[in-house]
Amino acid sequence: MKHSASSTFAFLFLFLIFTGVLFAQDEPIDSAMVDSVATAVEEMVPVNPPKPAQLDIVQDNPGDAGSSIHVSWILSPDDGAGDNDVTSYIIYRSESPTGPFEAVGSASRGLVEFEDATTTDGIEYYYYVETVAGDDSARSSISRPIKSSAQWFSTKDIDTFIIGLMISLSVIFFIFAAQKGKELYLRKIAGLEAVDEAIGRATEMGRPILFIPGILDMDDVQTVAGITILGRIAKTIANYDTKLNMPVSRSIVMTTARETVKQAYVAAGRPEGYSDDMVHYLTDEQFGYVAAVDGIMVREKPATCFYLGAFFAESLIMAETGNSIGAIQIAGTAMPAQLPFFVAACDYTLIGEELFAASAYLSGEPKQLGSLKGQDIGKMIAMAAILIGCGLFTVASITNSESLLSLANTFRSIFSAS
């Protein structure tokens, strides 16, 4: 910024007056929350110090793994206003109230807090914050001693914990209820109704079945879902004595899938029908894998293709190639961006939640089905929360009631997850 000579002069003049007013005032207000044990030693009278920010709360960071102290302050009155605008705050720390203090971090103007994440648990620290305005600065008083420590429960996550617990308990409750013989109604899912028929078709046509468990490893829950469905499907395949071809892109998936398919063949009473060659590794590389799968499709012409797991851009390449060879295609993924491509190119698509429910559906075991009923309770909780929350805010807005608004905000904050 450039000032002409006259405005610079006027600027300096105002500055001088301002400084005079500042020095005429008493000591800066001490924060009520901080027991100051000493005040910073004045080293030099600065030309034009800003009003210092004052420490507000200095405490161990709650609900963390230790090694962190939370420092907050009340903004300097000069922050964001006046000619002596604050540029930044610097946070100083020492193991003794008399120093030496060292800078542990800074925050730009307008900010009121800082996490000092470099503390050693159990040591007492003293803090002060320095308010900087250009070349000038002013210090706050020094905090009382504070120690950091690790906690055994993350108090800030208690809402999430309770929500998770409620959903878990309803799932577990219905698992047990179903096990005791409680009748459950479950709606039909078209994609799963078609599984037997699709496998039967491959059998009649004498062509193989292709199973793609996505391109992620076993550390993705969608892959786990795909493998559990494989367990059910493989049993039917074993019964029909159809050929299964399962190329995979991860070695751990290969190992797990082999266990799963082998188990299914044993359970179907046909252990001799199983061979390790059914599940084979191609490459970890996304597009290399697709190139190879496309090749397998056009050469072996599978009658049925299953795509169940985590998919990215390759979804459409595979589904379109599968379509071109006239295969029945059943897909399922929880990747929102890929669902449209499966919906467009496949005969049946399991959308998100349906993928995770599929193995329970196919198993037909009461225990498994019960868990789905528990999931529905979770949905009810979510739906009720949305309705109540929106209702509270809307009514608060119409009535302009402060108390309703704070109630609405409190309700909403249950779901803030932090």
Binding site: F153, M254, V290, A344, E353
Partner: protein
């Protein structure tokens, strides 16, 4: 032993990791990171199984002169050359201490001139498949399909100059009907609602499935009971 121990491991590990998220104190606080480290290490060992399988499949193919066995030779050569180039850092200008992908190394050359074009070409095939899928799949068969079609159409038009040309005349109060504005609205409102329903559903699906796995209700992946 063969089945009970794995079930116990799943139960203990799963439960501890769920709870660990709420326990900041050591050693629970960073168990999740520890696991991903362990997973990465297990994955290297597992690769020996996968890579071994790749070699075995192609050797069998060559041995038995199955159809296209010649291409199996290409695959094996490619695999071995890349492996050697990377592990022994062949022609790496910085020597064995240098970065494996240093510019000028054989590994990097293979990557730049062979791997990358293959990867990009395969990715580019998508453009063709987007064309064929839109020709075939977006047909007004019923109400649902028609809605899908209209939504796709609005977004497509909204991202080209045609959208604006067609509806430029709509100004003032009707400006919201201009196709680019309509496209933004579709993205921000109904699309968002659908996304949220899917996401919340997925969350519940994952929770329920995880519980089935942790509690041992779902155990197909653990293999046979033979003891």
């Amino acid at each position: 032993m063969k089945r009970t121990v794995p079930l116990a491991i799943t139960f203990i590990v799963g439960t501890v990791l769920v709870l660990a998220d709420f326990i900041p104190h050591k050693p629970f606080g960073n168990l999740g990171d520890d696991f991903s480290l362990y997973f990465d290490i297990i994955a290297v060992f597992a690769f020996l199984l996968g890579g071994g399988n790749l070699i075995r499949v192609h050797l069998t193919k060559i041995n038995r002169k199955r159809p296209d066995w010649q291409f199996s030779i290409v695959t094996l050569v490619g695999f071995v050359v890349m492996l050697a180039a990377g592990i022994f850092k062949i022609s790496n200008p910085e020597g064995i201490q240098g970065d494996v992908a240093a510019i000028g190394s054989l590994f990097n050359d293979l990557y730049m001139y062979i791997f990358t074009p293959l990867q990009a070409s395969m990715f580019a095939l998508l453009a063709f498949f987007v064309g064929s899928a839109s020709y075939r799949a977006f047909r007004a068969k019923n109400i649902e399909a028609t809605i899908l079609l209209i939504a796709a159409f609005i977004i497509l038009l909204g991202r080209t100059p045609f959208g604006l040309w067609l509806t430029e005349g709509l100004t003032g109060d009707l400006a919201f009907l201009q196709i680019p504005n309509l496209a933004n609205w579709v993205m921000d409102v109904p699309n968002l609602a659908g996304q949220r329903a899917i996401m919340i559903g997925i969350a519940l699906g994952v929770i329920s499935m995880s519980l089935r796995v942790i509690l041992g209700v779902e155990r197909t992946y653990l293999g046979q009971d033979s003891d």
